[in-house]
């Protein structure tokens, strides 16, 4: 009898079904509206950036842009385009092997605690403001080592910035491989190195390449460390990697917007457009890689 009384009581104190369903609907509509508003806001910002970069950058696109070098505040961007490509190629050449090997080491070989310590320092390195790395590059490489403003000093500075990203993505790509693959290989009598080389690397490769491409797209957009290390040149880069300043696109964006001339502004907008286009291409590549890897598994 007691329990019956209790249960009727509980039922009565609860709001009616209609009431609850009404509240739920209001809540759901409210949350959906807020999310939608937030999404629209973000999309608007992205679209605004893209549209303004495109609308202001496109008029500057011409054959001359890629065929001629900058002269003063006018001319083309051939030197800056080639310089940017040289800088990101150098930084990838330096940081990819180092970062991939380091990532493999902490994912597969490092004792647990040591691995955690390296991961921590890698995160710290990723958090250092890029201007500080630029300043470090200036003091150590440009001055002390006598490299001068140069592609090598700039490339090394960029590679210090992107190294932690490559380490992290390599580490993550290996750690997300189910342990059963490594165990299966080891149980056949393979050494851990053989297993890594023949079985695990294959599974980790799409992830590693994604990491390298994303890192390169980060390097592409850096300005601060290059101001201190790469300098600027009105001429195409060449194979003299030290004591030879080099041009790059972000420099054009940064400096030429402050010049009071239309031709300078035009070059800056077009350089920004080129940067956005290269980043887009890299991200499309990343997507293709990821799709390829999911098809495989």
């Amino acid at each position: 009898m007691d329990t019956q009384a209790e249960s009727t009581l509980t039922i009565q104190t609860l709001p009616s079904y209609e009431m609850r369903s009404y509240r739920r609907k209001v809540k759901s509509i409210a949350i959906w509206s807020i999310s939608f508003a937030a999404l629209t806001f973000v999309m608007f910002i992205i679209l605004d950036i893209l549209l303004s970069v495109i609308s202001k950058g496109v008029p500057g696109l011409s054959y001359n842009l890629i065929a001629t070098q900058t002269s003063g505040i006018a001319g083309g961007l051939q030197n800056a385009i080639l310089g940017t490509l040289l800088l990101i190629a150098l930084s990838a050449l330096i940081s990819a092997p180092l970062g991939i090997l380091a990532g493999i080491y902490i994912a597969l070989y490092a004792p647990k605690r040591f691995g955690a310590v390296i991961r921590f320092f890698s995160e710290v390195l990723a958090g250092i403001p890029s201007i500080v790395i630029g300043y470090f590059g200036y003091m150590v490489m440009v001055l002390q080592w006598g490299m001068g403003f140069s592609a090598l000093a700039g490339g090394i500075s960029l590679s210090i910035i992107i190294l932690p990203y490559i380490v992290r993505t390599t580490d993550a790509s290996f750690r997300q491989i189910p342990k059963s693959y490594l165990e299966g290989a080891i149980a056949l009598g393979m050494t851990p190195l053989m297993a890594m080389r023949t079985v695990l690397l294959k599974l980790a490769t799409p992830g590693i390449l994604t990491g390298v491409l994303l890192a390169v797209s980060i390097a592409l957009g850096e300005t601060a460390p290059l101001i201190y290390t790469a300098g600027w040149s009105n001429f195409d880069p060449n194979l003299q990697l030290v004591k030879n300043p080099v041009a790059y696109l972000t420099y054009v964006v940064w400096t030429y917007l402050n010049e009071p001339y239309h031709s300078a502004h035009q070059l800056a907008y077009t350089a920004a457009l080129l940067l956005v286009m290269i980043v887009l291409v890299l991200h499309v590549l990343v997507r293709m890689l990821q799709r390829g890897s999911s098809k495989h598994a």
Binding site: P111, K112, P178, S180, Y181, E183, G184, A185, I186, A187, L188, G189, M190, T191, M194, T198, V199, K202, L203, H296, A297
Partner: protein, 288 residues
């Protein structure tokens, strides 16, 4: 006509000396082979084995002898240490940080604590896991990868691969798709492929860690029949939660509880006339 579509019977033409050479390569030299012969009766001898992960003791003074050409089953509740014990036999436990053991574990005449050439040792003591784990490469590459790394010539690798695939009853089904991905195969086929892969390096002992627990009854039956046939010329140790399976295939069974071997007997005796009341309770509860 490629090499791989040659009929199986035509393709096995190794001379005797080639076979011997191959065996020497696969067993990591004469040493293991000789010691195995000396210890022909007892292939695995475990004395006073205690094992720890960090400070936690997982095996407590195990004492056990496993005979050649027999299937020995390890049963017991989850977490009783049977998988750890199994993985100690081929030093897989030793790859886990913090693992250490006391007492002696002698497999194929070698003390596992003293094994110098771990890779040759693991080649002689093969393992099949709970879930099929084919490598992300073609069926043929799955079978030949290890042989390739150990320096076996391409012709021999392919012959061994086909022979082993035939041994596990997959050759007829798969002979036209040897260069396709193994992930399209059913779970049972994948597990048999993994068995063929383990057999390709010619182990003397085969450790099975709940090899059929993820499979349907028909695939399970196929695997069990295979194990019985394989036991005619090798030693098999199987961890299983399926008591009926132990009853069907194992000559001897060890019942483990809380890191100890409660009872180790001929399978029939253990199931129908257990000495220890703990065994009786477990067996009766499980069978119902």
């Amino acid at each position: 006509m490629t090499n791989d579509t040659v009929a199986l019977d035509d393709s096995i033409h190794l001379t005797e000396s080639e076979l011997l050479e191959l065996e020497a390569v696969l067993t990591g030299g004469i040493h293991l082979q000789k010691t195995a012969e000396i210890a022909k009766e007892t292939v695995i001898r475990v004395e006073n084995l205690s094992a720890y992960f960090g400070h936690k003791q997982v095996l407590n003074h195990l004492q056990l002898e496993i005979k050649d050409k027999e299937i020995t089953a390890l049963i017991g509740p989850s977490g009783c240490g049977k998988t750890t014990f199994l993985r100690t036999l081929n030093r897989m436990s030793h790859t886990v940080p913090g693992f250490r053991h006391e007492g002696t574990v002698n497999v194929l005449g070698q003390d596992v604590a003293m094994v110098r050439d771990v890779e040759s040792f693991r080649r002689a003591v093969g393992m099949l896991f709970q879930r099929p784990n084919p490598f992300p490469m073609s069926i043929m590459d799955n079978l030949t990868l290890a042989l390739k790394l150990f320096g076996v010539s391409k012709k021999e690798r392919v012959e061994i691969a086909k022979a082993k695939l035939d041994e596990v009853g997959l050759y007829d089904d798969l002979k036209d798709r040897l260069h396709q991905s193994p992930f399209a195969l059913s779970g049972g086929q994948q597990q048999r492929l993994c068995l063929a892969r383990a057999l390709a390096v010619q182990p003397k002992v085969l450790l099975l860690d709940e090899p059929a627990s993820a499979l349907d009854p028909k695939s399970t039956k196929l695997l069990e029949d295979l194990f019985v046939r394989l036991a005619e010329h090798m030693t098999i140790v199987i961890v299983t939660h399926n008591l009926a399976q132990a009853k069907r295939i194992a000559k001897r069974t060890a019942f483990m509880e809380a890191g100890e071997i409660v009872e180790f007997e001929l399978t029939d005796k253990l199931f129908y006339h257990p000495n220890d009341p703990r065994t009786r309770v477990y067996v009766e509860e499980q069978i119902g």
